[in-house]
Symmetry: C2
Subunit: 653 residues, 2 copies
Amino acid sequence: MSQNKTIEITFPDGNKRTYSSGTTGYEIAASISQGLARNALSVTLNETVLDLSYPITTDGTIAINTWDTEDGKATFWHSSAHILAEAVEALYPGAKFGIGPAIEQGFYYDIDFGDRTVTIEDLPKIEQKFIELARSKNEFVRKEIGKDEALAYYKEKGDEYKVDLLQDLEDGTITFYTQGNFTDLCRGPHIPSTSAVKAVKLLNVAGAYWHGDSDNKQLTRIYGVSFPKKSMLDAHLEMLEEAKKRDHKKLGKELGIYMIDRMIGSGLPVWLPNGTVLRRRLEAFLRDEQVKRGYQEVITPHIANLNLYRTSGHYPYYADSQYDPIQVDDEEYMLKPMNCPHHHRIFSSKMRSYRELPIRLSEFGSVYRYEQSGELNGLSRVRGFTQDDAHIYCTHDQLKSEIKNCIDLTQYVFSIFDMPVDIRLSFRDDNDEKYGGDLEHWERAQQEIREVADELGLDYTIAKGEASFYGPKIDFIIRDAIGRKWQLGTVQLDYVMPERFELTYVGADNAKHRPVIIHRAPFGSMERFTSILIEHFAGDFPLWLSPVQVKVLPISDQYNELAHEYANEWKEWGMRIEVDDRSEQIGGKIRDAETAKVPYMVILGEKELTSRTVSVRRHKKGDVGTFSFDSFTTLLKNEISQYILPDKVSYNN
Amino acid sequence: MSQNKTIEITFPDGNKRTYSSGTTGYEIAASISQGLARNALSVTLNETVLDLSYPITTDGTIAINTWDTEDGKATFWHSSAHILAEAVEALYPGAKFGIGPAIEQGFYYDIDFGDRTVTIEDLPKIEQKFIELARSKNEFVRKEIGKDEALAYYKEKGDEYKVDLLQDLEDGTITFYTQGNFTDLCRGPHIPSTSAVKAVKLLNVAGAYWHGDSDNKQLTRIYGVSFPKKSMLDAHLEMLEEAKKRDHKKLGKELGIYMIDRMIGSGLPVWLPNGTVLRRRLEAFLRDEQVKRGYQEVITPHIANLNLYRTSGHYPYYADSQYDPIQVDDEEYMLKPMNCPHHHRIFSSKMRSYRELPIRLSEFGSVYRYEQSGELNGLSRVRGFTQDDAHIYCTHDQLKSEIKNCIDLTQYVFSIFDMPVDIRLSFRDDNDEKYGGDLEHWERAQQEIREVADELGLDYTIAKGEASFYGPKIDFIIRDAIGRKWQLGTVQLDYVMPERFELTYVGADNAKHRPVIIHRAPFGSMERFTSILIEHFAGDFPLWLSPVQVKVLPISDQYNELAHEYANEWKEWGMRIEVDDRSEQIGGKIRDAETAKVPYMVILGEKELTSRTVSVRRHKKGDVGTFSFDSFTTLLKNEISQYILPDKVSYNN
């Protein structure tokens, strides 16, 4: 091979440049700008993340990973885990190390402290050592090492966990990374130097069995998060603090939204009265929108014959997430894991003409999927949930306009909650063989999705290999009020199920054709979406969603009659009103209403009685003025019917 | 024993009379009036039905059973089954007889015709023979007979079915009944003479396995119905004809209400778009009523840990009607057979104060109960259904007013559909030991139910022994448009579950007390009620329930724009409107709308365009006049919001 070989590097914007073989990612970054090189943490070459110092010898597509990229953050946090281990080794000589990966928000390391116990109290000390080591500006040095040599190193060090890990590795693929005085068995990659890590917070200590197996020894897992700037850490800690206050499990209980009851079952939320109001409002809101957009609602049973899922192919392939079959006479039934096959059977229950298409079948359909008990979490990870599901059966020619309608509906829905949406087009990875259906259809569909996205002027990313096995999809990732991202609605194209269920319609040519199916669900799951809504609004729901909208607070018993009179008038308008007619001080009544996060408190006393006015307090805002009964009623009606957000209401009384 | 012993007979009105021992039911009837004696068919003494000729030798409560009573009809039809057998024996010598009971509407006899095949074609001939025999005025003669003698009779006759039946009978309890030339093994009782049967119709022939076991021989079951007057038969046949036209399975398919799909499962209805609209309207109607009456809605999962049903006692005692448990990790779960235990757990999820009571938890809760596949029938007998369930937790002092509220709600609900309601108070049978809970509570509850019924001025019957095991109940039996009776809503008191679930509230005395529970469900099951509604209205639903309320029919394409303009305005009001903008003749459009049973057809042509009016047709009524757009809109709004029935709308245009 020639030493003078050149490589062709393609950049994300499609530009190509030629470099001599052996050029490093750092050098490529520097060839673009010194600033980029300074901020680079690693590079991604053909979907493999590499050290900046790694000599590149093949053509490929490259991305320079800075802090603003997912790969960059992962590299940064993985390196931080090594610094944590270095700090621990310095403070606790003889500590043995398991694994120390980056996670979604930070990193952890599993450590065997031997006879010593390390608790949350010890974390500040370790943090201090961490920062000291980070400031030492040590480089991360990669070294390829033979398996025997590596085994010898860890046997001498007495770290049986690394020895255990080495057993499974193949000679010739093993690397060590060293920074300062600490060497770790590690595939890499790492940031160039510890100096990039300017701030760290060790968050928590937990027990973790080696290999996740309770027969093994329990190690101590230290969780942390680190940043290239101190201000970022401050913002992150503030967000965590805020998230804790908004925790839907805490608020869900306080506000009477839902309960989990052991006797009923783990992962099976029970919607309490306030939660049921909230959920019914969400359903009604979406149902109304769907009716306007030509959807038809259906209701299907929660169990079905196993043959239905054999036809769809969901059984036995997804048996791990399904419940065991139930024997009924000589047939087997299953709790339904999805609504799709039921809707396909409705479509095929009679002959369909092209004139009927598109047919849009929607259902608030409850499905049951097994989750390990350790994974269960409040409303956000459950074993039974209700999808705001729909399936659109259309011709190929209708596909673009139907996709457009779905995107429009999804964007409208999230705009109501003031949730910014990121859009990801999840496409097929041509190198992966898992995808079903006709390649030509796939390409046409992906092309059309892109066209629709462009025509709508959407800002989107494309994720290859993120499609579902039956077709490409559009994923909607929303950002909540404290900046966290949640993947919610999807719009999925499906070319496989029409074949499996032999769906046809009679075309204008009098011949039978296959329709295309679009699966879509803006909220995704009523349970998970509600958990996100609770945290997004911190329980301060907009008026139209609030379980109790107005609490009427008579100053003393003599105004109780007036309170009920007003309450009844508002109830006639369909509003959710409570009267606090206890013989309590008004201060106490206000305090209780504030605790219950009731949006409006209406205070009634002598002044209000004689002038037929109401003194109004808004939750968190305090007194917002005195209104005539009628003008306040109008204000309520407007705020409810226009889905106005709490912080956008104006009071011109 | 003295021959001059007397007996004391108590009549339903509480009056008592004394007779000499050995007096017959007929003589007792005659002692009241000759007319009563003439119309008497049997008597019921202390809940046992007896021949009119049976000598009565004990004190007791007596009812004289005429045609107007259930016991009277049953006697009449059972005797008719004997006449049927006599006719068959006359026409098909050597036919062997299984069993021949009275059923809800008539009677049947299972017959082995040997090598001969009897079909529906043969029924008129048998009917003729039946009437001829009935006119012979043969008496039914009862005879006590020894088991050996009875066995010998049937062995000689060669009727192995009667021999089989005799095996299980105890010597000394066996009786034969003879009328004319036919003798049957029979416990009785029977009407005095065949002459009471003036009209008969043999309705159907079906196969029926001996003892219902498919390993046994299949006999021929002949169904019939008979009456004491020809006019009654005519009315009955007319009703059957009408019922056939109204059959919810036929209309359910034609109107797109529901489907049963083998691939999804037997007995698991799928609600199609039109059915879903109808069901959602019913739910919304009841939900609104319930909110007004202080109910709180909840949503609970469709499966639960078996321990929940062990606590309620529903498992394993009702295992026959339940689906097999599903193993989840190391726990067992079951498809929920009822919603009650879930609600009880919501009640007990926090400390309750007497100030919170009554707590009224409602749920449109889907439950799953096993039914044999032969029993399944459209929407009326299914394996999965949704109850309009609610549980009211109250103090003993609140019981009467809560019962009153429940009765009021149920009566209101059925009044909307113009369904007359019969009320039955189902009380405990003190001789039966199946009843749970404290006797004192039972008596107080039964007393209070009676008081409430009297205070409300209800016309009710009392049925001893019809209570549920956990408390007395009130059953609502509605009559549909063609006079058939259906047991729907119930209101049940429950003293057992509060104990089993250890439900408590803190009283004003600061001590813990047990609440009482009321279970109630006006519709009972959304599926079954919908089947009854379809048949009650023959698919011509009131406007507020109609899946499509108005079909707009432009006379030609040039009026399509106007049609959509009007349609959109009505849709803004939440109305369900379709536009038939096909290029079809107006006659065809009207025909299609009539077939779909759409309540209103709005016809738009040149006249309507220029005058901004609408020509309106009402389904089945035809043209009802020309209205201004606004006045017709007002008419629609009134008819919908006031639940006006189709035949009660007035058109003052």
